[in-house]
Structure formats: C-alpha cells, structure tokens
C-alpha cells in the first residue's frame, strides 16, 4: 500500500498575543493547497488561535521568552495541529461545561469547548500541556470542508 504523503511545518512562537494571528495566517497559507472552504478555514483558524492563546496565557503567563511549539501537518485524509507549551498543564475534564445554564454567563471555558466541537479529534497528553487536534478531510464531511471544484 502506498504511503501517504505528509506535509509538515513547525513554528516556535514567543508567548505574545500579537503573534497569534500571524501564526494562524501562516498555517492557513501552508494549508492553501487543500483548497479549504471558508467555513473550514474559519474553524481551523478559530481552534488554532484559541489553543495558542491558552498556551501563551495559561501555560506561560504571557512571558514572551517562553516559546510555544506549533506543528501543522496534513495529508490527503486529515489536518493535524499540535500546540505545546512548557507550563504545568491542565486537566481538560475540569473545565466547566460552558453550555450549562448556570455557566452561560461565565467569561471563560468557551475556547476549549469550541475546539472540542469544531475539530474531529482532540487529544491532550497526560500532563495537559500538549494538545493535538485533527480535522478530517475524507468521509461525509469532505464536501463541506473543501471548496467545490
């Protein structure tokens, strides 16, 4: 069976919120050969920016000298983004469900929730400082993800 061709790019970002949008623009440019639909690009950008903000803010306390590692890769079947910080990590299961009536007015927790809803697979390492999220390009969702030929 032929091996899937994987394209990969890595970035190291200072923990500075001004870097977040620059990084997402670079990742979307890297993914351009996939001809993603506007909606899919929106989802990927949002999830990536939410993850980077969390890593910089909660993982590194916005200390610019601490770098966040970002890896973006894709093949014919999926896009995978990995975001890793040097912080103590967190227990994602302890993040309150922002959609519960009693939590709707809370200010936080929506970023993690949006990532879980908009990506197809979301995985944290045991320490909770590395997040890998996957968007599938094949299967019933393909038409919605890619622009019409």
């Amino acid at each position: 069976m032929a091996k899937k061709a994987v394209r990969k790019k890595e970035f190291r970002l200072p923990s500075d919120l001004a870097e977040v949008q620059k990084a997402s623009a670079k990742v979307l440019a890297f993914l351009r050969p996939l001809s993603l639909s506007e909606a899919a690009s929106f989802d990927i950008r949002l999830c990536l920016e939410e993850a980077l903000i969390n890593a910089m803010k909660y993982g590194h306390g916005l200390r610019p000298e601490l770098e966040v590692r970002l890896a973006a890769e894709y093949d014919d079947e999926s896009i995978r983004l990995t975001i890793e910080d040097h912080g103590p990590g967190f227990d994602v299961d302890k993040v309150a469900d922002c959609t519960q009536k009693s939590n709707l007015l809370r200010g936080s927790g929506r970023g993690v929730y949006l990532i879980r809803q908009l990506m197809d697979e979301v995985e944290y390492n045991a320490k909770g400082n590395r997040l890998t999220m996957t968007k599938r390009l094949v299967g019933p969702e393909t038409k919605r993800l890619r622009k019409r030929e």
Binding site: L17, A18, V20, Q21, E38, A39, F42, R45, L46, E49, E50, I53, C98, T99, L104, L105, R106, G107, S108, R110, G111, Y113, L114, Q117, L118
Partner: protein, 108 residues
C-alpha cells in the same frame, strides 16, 4: 475593528466592523462603557470573525446592561458567527435579530 456608536429611537447602537477577538474586544468594551446605555443593540453585520474573548465581551456587556435593568440585542450575524452562538448555547441568552432595524424596534 472599528466601532461606530449612535442613538436610534432611544437605543444605543454599536455598529462593529471587523473582527471581535482577543486584541480588539477591549476596544469594544471601552466604547460600550463610555455610553453606559440601558437599551443597546450591537450590530454584527460587518463582523466576520469572533473568538471566545469576543463572545465573553458580549456576555459581559449583556450582564452589565441587564444589571441596570436594561436590554441588549444582537443584530445581523453572519451564518458562521451565529453558529458559534448556537454551539455555545449563547443563542439562548441573547435576543438575536436579523437586522439592526428589527433589533432597535424590539429593544426600545
């Protein structure tokens, strides 16, 4: 992001153009706090992107308005921005209207 604010039929309208994200949402909050209005419409027709900080800022604006006995409505969301409100169930919290005109009529 730019914010144009004006009064229409006794309602403070905030017409936002651009993105409401972690960098721009403090500006929206400042505009809102400057007017301290009781009846508010935030027109999102020209907003193409909102992140969780933007959602949190809008929730904060709603909370402040309600705590003063007022009301706040959102108008003119794109399909994609609206989907974020639906996913996070914030569509149950905010009155959402198709247009600024409708929002002003209902909020006043």
């Amino acid at each position: 992001m730019t914010v144009k604010s004006f009064e229409k039929d006794g309602v403070a309208v905030f017409q936002v153009n651009g993105e409401i994200n972690i960098s721009t949402s403090p500006d929206l909050k400042k505009h809102f706090e400057k007017l301290a209005a009781k009846k508010v419409v935030v027109d999102l027709t020209e907003v193409g992107y909102v992140d969780s900080s933007g959602l949190a800022t809008l929730v904060e604006m709603l909370k402040k308005t309600k705590s003063q006995g007022g009301s706040l409505g959102l108008a003119g969301m794109s399909e994609k921005v609206r989907s974020l409100f639906e996913i996070t169930k914030l569509d149950k919290l905010f009155p959402i209207f198709a247009s600024q005109e409708e929002a002003v009529t209902r909020v006043k």
